[in-house]
Amino acid sequence: MNCGAKSGTFSLARSFVYYIDPHIHMVSRTTDDYLTLAKMGCVAVSEPAFWAGYDRRSADGFRDYFEQLTSFESQRAAAYGIQHFTWLCINAKEAENVSLSREVIAMIPEFLDRAGVLGIGEIGLNKNTRNEATIFLEHLDLAMKTDEQILIHTPHLEDKYQGTRMILNMLTDDSRINRSRVLVDHVEEHTVRWVLEAGFWAGMTLYPVSKCTPERAVDMIEQYGPERLLVNSAGDWGPSKPTAVPDFILEMRRRRHDEQTIRRVVYENPVEFFSQSRNFAFTPPEALQIAER
């Protein structure tokens, strides 16, 4: 512990911590954001497919999006030394269109062997409707048939508890699913326990006005421990903060948590979870530095 000499003070600037943002939508962010993330120690990002802010009108619209995620975006990240990984799906908001959703699900396998594709995601529920649940189950079936990992979006605000319980019900009802290969994201105080106790990984999303704050995320780490817990910014085109993970690191230090625990949550946990994907060809920053010498 790097405490200051004066009682009650401590140093926030300890050793430099590399981190991974396991959920961020970089196609919606500027190149300046990549620069800022790199300066703050971000060495890798994972980008789930999500809603563009409007409903896409055809499967070809998704084909173009998946092309962007698996080619151009990884090049843009690499220019700043950040390794880019991605997940593919049709988002729950667009799952109300069942026929389009089925066209997209049928097309996804074309991209699953591409470099950096970690699995199916972020699938989930939005308003907890019958159509959303139908398409969620069909995504699960695709993931099981193709042996992919799964990243799950849970709903917002008053729909979160109900939707998370519905999602867990569908997951635990499928005996093919290896729970250690599934990440249930956007957990909060009323859903985190259900997710962890069922054996899944849980992600806490740090948002300026909804979801979770860095302070509450640290509260949950203190209550449940660091095992199978991730933190992410879910930075996108709406109000969000791509540098939220460093805010979490700072809050952990303010509360005097040790560097080993911080590194576990923001770096080792994502590496451990993603390493279960055949396309996670991650080079640790230490190895990059040796190669550059």
């Binding site: 009650g8 019958r130 605000l157 008053e158 729909d159 105080e189 509450r216 209550q223 509360r255 005097r256």
Partner: protein
């Protein structure tokens, strides 16, 4: 998991931010009531009043209780009802 900070140190840190947040809540409620037309029958207004009672309960899981207070309930039989 052990928590490095003592209760006293945590209170030292939290006192002013919590005081500020309580004042913000009070000011927001005053603002609503000062405006023309009473919201007393609005379900959201009643939900906020009930939420404040939860905040001042004794116990360690106020946040979880508040989250559930603002949540739609889960129906264990949803799949049977939808035949899905």
């Amino acid at each position: 998991m052990s928590i490095p900070n003592s209760g006293q140190r945590t209170l030292d840190r939290e006192y002013l931010p919590v005081r500020a947040k309580i004042l913000e809540i009070a000011a927001s409620l005053d603002r609503v009531e000062r405006a023309e037309g009473s919201p007393a029958d609005d379900a959201r207004w009643q939900r906020l009043r009930a939420a404040l009672e939860i905040v001042f309960q004794q116990g360690l899981n106020r946040t979880e209780q508040l989250q559930l207070h603002f949540s739609r309930p889960y129906d264990e039989l949803w799949r049977e009802e939808w035949d899905i």
